[in-house]
């Protein structure tokens, strides 16, 4: 209890508004990007000086400013770089959605007909609301750390539900439909996975870091604790087999390995994990034709440029047409027989569209923005008060960074393409909401000095056994 808390009457939380100058300055640049981007798009498409989709841009900019003001009024000392960075990513994505044909995705709500850009605006605003609420309201992480097995159970339930009730879409069973809503649970699952892993590793970190299993001359990490690791491999493979979701499986596994390394600092774990992952990959390649197809398309998309390799070939051409500075927003993506060159441009290939219309400069900028998110996450982790928060922050940032890496590398044919979204840029409610959850949690744990770290929990059976036999 600090002196201030002792003076204030119980039950009353004192709120002192606090200026967030850096965030305001960065948000100003984001708003300028929105305006200039809309102007560029409007001038290209209409040949007059107009700002395309200015209503949507104003709504989005307003939502960003609202979250900024909410945090300022709540007086929290949360990170000031994350919101503008993510806001810029979302803004570039929104510009792209305004530019794309609006009938790619459409939904009718009563008399309201919403096109691609309008739906994206709705999702982005909902996402920002999630960010704002979490950043302002979450002052304790006990609800995350105490119920980690409950969270894991919820995640598994979600997975099973998708398996049983999910609908197939493009050869992958990813979508769960509940009434009028549909969503991709694997997006939410990745957040739950990070929470569970952070809780588990924070509790067993000392054991994982020091125990050894000795078999003859071989010294291995403690084998009993391999079980969760094997379970993770199994889960990853299960996702691939059941849902044909290669991207999510890869993402889960990367996050798992890196968190394990952060928690224990032992390269042996990582080596073992990579070896297991390689064996699993080969097994999957041999066992499943859809994995084989992905790999063969990656190795040589020009073998079947009008069939399996069509999207990749078109994306490569789009990147090539863009050059250094791009052909200009709204000037690229020539239609082939009335269709977009890349069918899934709004979900899987936004990077290719940006590469064509805004050029290499913008693609590199976007990758740098993801690096900024990662840096912020690791800095929040380094400053965190206890291992759970540190692992949680690192894992959350990693989940965004790794996802961006996996899909960007897929778009650029650096690795087999896996159908996951580019965080905050791609169209998609599940993706935007799940990633907003990540950013909101990161902001919430970045605020130091509000709550002391939770007291250590009662020790588990393993630690008790270690303590026994001593006076």
């Amino acid at each position: 209890m600090t002196a201030a808390a002792a003076v204030a009457p119980r039950g009353i939380v004192r709120i002192r508004p606090r200026l967030r100058r850096r965030e305001a300055m960065l948000l100003l640049i984001v708003c300028a990007v929105l305006g200039v981007g809309g102007l560029s798009l409007g001038m290209t498409t209409t040949d007059t000086v107009t700002v395309a989709g200015w209503q949507l841009l104003v709504i989005y900019g307003g939502a960003l400013v609202a979250v900024h003001l909410a945090q300022s009024l709540a007086g929290r000392r949360t990170d000031q770089v994350l919101l503008p960075t993510v806001g810029l990513l979302g803004g570039i994505g929104l510009l792209l959605m305004i530019r794309l044909p609006q009938d790619l995705v459409a939904q009718d709500l009563g008399s309201l007909h919403l096109g691609l850009a309008q739906l994206q605006t709705v999702w982005l605003c909902l996402g920002l609301a999630v960010v704002g609420v979490l950043a302002v309201a979450v002052r304790s992480d006990a609800w995350l750390r105490m119920y980690k097995y409950t969270w894991a159970l919820a995640g598994l339930t979600l997975l099973v539900l998708t398996f049983v009730f999910g609908i197939d879409e493009g050869g992958a069973r990813l979508t769960l439909v509940v009434g009028p809503f549909s969503g991709q649970p694997s997006e939410l699952l990745k957040v739950i996975l990070v929470i569970f892993l952070a809780g588990y590793l924070a509790e067993y970190r000392p054991l994982l870091a020091t125990e050894r299993t000795v078999i003859g001359p071989i010294r291995l990490p403690p084998l009993p604790y391999l079980v969760p690791m094997l379970a993770m491999v199994a889960l990853g493979m299960g996702v691939v087999i059941v849902q044909r979701d290669l991207g999510a499986a890869l993402l889960f596994y990367i996050v798992f390995l890196v968190l394990l390394y952060i928690a224990t600092g032992r390269t042996a774990w990582v080596g073992l994990g990579i070896a297991l992952g390689a064996v699993a990959s080969v097994a999957l390649y041999l066992a499943f034709p859809h994995v084989r197809e992905r790999v063969s398309v990656w190795l040589d998309p020009f073998a079947d440029p009008l069939g399996a390799g069509f999207q990749i070939v078109q994306a490569l051409h789009a990147f090539a047409r863009g050059g250094l500075f791009g052909v200009g927003l709204g000037a690229g993506l020539p239609e082939i027989a009335g269709n977009l060159p890349i069918p899934a441009v709004h979900t899987d290939f936004p990077l290719a569209a940006i590469g064509e219309e805004m050029g290499l400069a913008a693609v590199l900028g976007i990758l740098a923005l993801y690096l900024v998110v990662l840096e912020r996450g690791l800095r929040i982790a380094a400053a965190a008060a206890d291992p759970f928060r540190a692992l949680l922050a690192a894992g959350l940032a990693l989940v965004v960074g790794a996802q961006a890496l996996v899909i960007a590398a897929g778009d650029l044919r650096l690795m087999p393409l896996t159908g996951i979204t580019l965080p905050f840029v791609s169209y998609g409610g599940s993706s935007i909401l799940a990633n907003s959850l990540v950013v909101g949690l990161l902001l919430a744990i970045s605020d130091r000095g509000i709550e002391a770290p939770a007291p250590p929990r009662t020790r588990g059976p393993v630690m008790r056994a270690l303590r026994r036999g001593r006076g």
Binding site: L26, L39, P206, G471
Partner: protein, 145 residues
């Protein structure tokens, strides 16, 4: 050249320039953050790293920040809690006076050792020295700044 086309060119380049201006502004904020973290006065003076611990409580590799006065012992109120059967409740105390480290035994049953020799009275301590409390051995290291 058509002024409209020129203006469009300028707008397109301005868009890219703004994205990079944002990144530049972020980089400046990050640099300032790093510098401030480096200059933070609350940086620890030194740290004790556990080298050997038969009961694994504290675990090997654990590091404790060491302040101007650091008490070591089995007592839960100690700065560094050593839950070893051969450690005393109030075992030893490490102090930082002026610019040097000192260690003093607090009348422990099994004694405190620095680099293998028994501590008698107040003994100076150098960075890299190994302290033995009970069966736990700790190494004094420079603090992280």
């Amino acid at each position: 050249m058509d002024p409209f086309v020129l203006a469009l060119w300028a707008v397109r380049l301005a868009l890219l320039a703004l994205v990079w201006l944002f990144l530049f502004a972020v980089a400046r904020v990050l640099m300032r953050d790093v510098r401030r973290a480096a200059a933070e006065p609350g940086a620890e003076l030194g740290r004790l790293v556990v080298v050997a611990s038969p009961d694994r409580e504290p675990p090997v590799g654990a590091a404790f920040p060491v302040d101007a006065v650091t008490t070591i012992g089995r007592d839960l109120a100690s700065t560094v809690v050593i839950a070893d059967a051969f450690a005393s409740t109030e075992h030893a105390v490490i102090t930082y006076r002026g610019r040097a480290w000192f260690i003093e035994d607090r009348g422990s049953t099994n004694g405190t050792y620095v680099n293998g020799s028994l501590v008698d009275g107040v003994v100076p301590l150098a960075v890299g020295d190994e302290i033995q409390v009970g069966r736990v051995r700790l190494r004094l290291e420079r603090g992280r700044r």
